[in-house]
């Protein structure tokens, strides 16, 4: 069940908190249905509608991220679907239901790793097929030809990088994740995440200048 409504209930402030002479209105911030934690609990209790709502809430972001990481839309669809199936299958093991979204992305990134491994294996066996229809250049939207060219250069560099470096760099430079988020989603330490991003950035810099955000640390 999806909860598309985002509404703001305008409620007057409680009597104890408002002056008696003037009516002060309190605007309760808009919320979009139950929290993830509620939905996870309902889903674990057997509520399939809650699963639908969780899907509706997180599918778009997950599919976008996986597409950018993989560079192939058909594979991204498969991987995203697998990530949801794994997440929904393991919901009972989720310790902090409020972190469902982050947990789902962790699973998705893990699946991306597996997909890259599979791709490499198929390439060795001469069975590789499919094309990069969702490279950064292909996904470019409303940018000039020069910028497209720069993105194509980035694609070319990323294509030659080790999977760990590629994923870490895309999470940081494309998705705008913080270093902590990169470490969390790739399942490595903060130091390792930094090292991978730096190594990838050094390779990218040889082809095109991409300015990364300052380290938070």
């Amino acid at each position: 069940m999806s909860w598309p409504l985002a509404f703001a209930v305008v409620l007057p402030a409680p009597a104890a908190a408002r002056p008696t002479s003037t009516l002060v209105e309190l605007v309760v911030p808009a919320r979009q249905g139950p929290s993830d934690a509620s939905l996870v609990e309902c889903a674990v209790a057997g509520d399939r509608a809650a699963l639908g709502t969780l899907y509706d809430r997180h599918a778009e972001r997950t599919l976008l991220r996986v597409t950018r990481l993989l560079g192939r839309s058909a594979e991204a669809e498969d991987v995203t679907q697998d990530a949801f199936l794994i997440a929904f299958g393991d919901l009972g093991t989720l310790r902090d239901p409020e972190r469902f979204g982050a947990w789902l992305l962790q699973i998705a990134v893990r699946q991306v790793h597996r997909r890259f491994r599979k791709r490499r294996l198929l390439e060795r066996l001469g069975m590789a097929w499919g094309e990069s229809d969702a490279s950064l250049q292909a996904l470019a939207n409303g940018v000039d030809a020069e910028t497209q060219l720069q993105l194509a250069r980035v694609d070319a560099v990323l294509g030659g990088l080790a999977t760990e470096l590629r994923i870490a760099w895309i999470l940081r430079a494309v998705e705008g994740c913080s270093l902590g988020e990169v470490a969390d989603q790739t399942g490595c330490s903060l130091a390792t995440a930094k090292r991978r991003i730096a190594a990838a950035q050094a390779a990218v810099r040889k082809a095109v200048a991409v300015e990364l955000p300052e380290d938070e640390s």
């Binding site: 309902c42 639908g52 778009e60 597409t67 199936l85 393991d90 020069e146 494309v174 991409v210």
Partner: protein, 364 residues
């Protein structure tokens, strides 16, 4: 490196497409929910066995395909992979190696989405597409429009995309049309039948004669129902529908802003299936819709009912907050304080402590 250009600034995502294709999301939704069992906690273990079995079957299928030389993708008559087809002024036709063909009408455009041994899928971007699929082929053909998806194995049919909807007509064989705009989400069309699926902003579905043949009967347009009494003792409606159907109906109604209809569907779940595991969540949704419609007193009763269902912890928290907000907004500060005390006792570390403290300051 071209030093004339300013460096690209992270995050590069702002230069890229920011929304994935809707059809892909809808396809995945159906698959994910269909493959997740009733007990989500065990689905993965269950799926592992199926996964292994599927791997063996797929490996065998790949072996058979390779040994028989079946092409991995559908090729055009001149041996190329199909990518797209556009028509400028006149009809353009693409013939395929297996005898099938696509014809796109003037100013139309169709692009390939995927071509595998099992499926050939295209997106109709604009215009009218006439399709002839040779029966008995190994692939399922799929035509995606913005608001509908047409699936077929062996037939002749057309799909036409217009600014306000999609038309599908069948001249041979059978197709299956899937769309969130259809009453049950899916409809089977046989030869001689056609269907108009209008865009969500025109949520009327009409079925009209085509090619001189009679049409399939359609459910009449859903009249806006009066919301039922949220009490579990409310009479059960004569037309019994499953909880899943009603949830889907509520979803569709909400998506197009038909709040009375959404309220009606959710109220029926609460009234007719009070013991179902989903009823408390449906009740919460019902209360939210009632609030949306300005029915605060009714919403109050609904949220009270949800609490009576002893919902899961997080839903309990959310519902209590709604009640406190409502009592406060109605000036019932004693009731709000009672509920706030209840919340603090039950959820001393609760997520809504701060909000509640603002609404109902705690007395020492």
């Amino acid at each position: 490196m071209n030093s004339d250009r300013p460096p690209l600034q992270a995050p590069l995502a702002r230069l890229l497409e920011s929304s994935p294709a809707r059809p892909a999301l809808q396809r995945m939704r159906a698959r994910v929910l269909a493959r997740t069992r009733q007990d989500p906690g065990r689905a993965w273990k269950f799926g592992l066995g199926w996964g292994l079995a599927t791997t063996v079957v797929v490996a065998a299928a790949v072996f058979v395909f390779q040994s028989q030389g079946v092409p991995a993708s559908l090729l055009t008559r001149d041996g190329q992979e199909f990518r797209d087809l556009s028509a400028h002024g006149t009809v353009a036709t693409q013939h395929f190696a297996d005898g099938s063909s696509l014809s796109i009408g003037a100013s139309g455009r169709v692009v390939a989405l995927s071509s595998t041994p099992q499926e050939f899928s295209v997106l109709l971007e604009r215009g009218r597409l006439d399709v002839h699929v040779v029966p008995g082929g190994p692939r399922r053909w799929v035509v995606e429009g913005k608001w509908a998806r047409v699936e077929v194995v062996g037939t002749r049919f057309f799909v036409e995309r217009r600014p306000n909807g999609i038309s599908v007509g069948v001249s041979e064989g059978v197709v299956v049309v899937r769309s969130a705009q259809l009453p049950e989400g899916v409809m089977r069309l046989a030869a001689g039948q056609s269907l108009d699926v209008l865009s969500p902003t025109h949520p009327v579905i009409e079925n009209r004669p085509s090619l001189g043949a009679p049409t399939l009967p359609l459910e009449p347009p859903q009249a806006i129902r009066k919301a039922l009494d949220p009490s579990p003792k409310a009479p059960v409606a004569a037309h019994v529908r499953s909880v899943t159907d009603l949830l889907d109906e509520a979803d569709r109604a909400r998506a197009r802003g038909a709040w009375p209809e959404a309220e009606g569907a959710l109220a029926r779940i609460v009234a007719e299936y009070p013991t179902d595991a989903r009823s408390s969540l449906a009740g919460y949704g019902l209360g939210v819709v009632q609030l949306r419609r300005g029915k605060q007193m009714v919403a109050l009763e609904t949220f009270e009912w949800v609490l009576g269902q002893r919902p899961p912890r997080s839903l309990w928290e959310d519902t209590l907050l709604r009640l406190i907000e409502l009592h406060a907004s109605l000036g019932q500060m004693d009731r709000a304080a009672e509920r706030a005390a209840d919340y603090r006792a039950r959820f001393p570390e609760g997520r809504h402590q701060l909000t509640i403290a603002r609404l109902v300051p705690q007395t020492p």
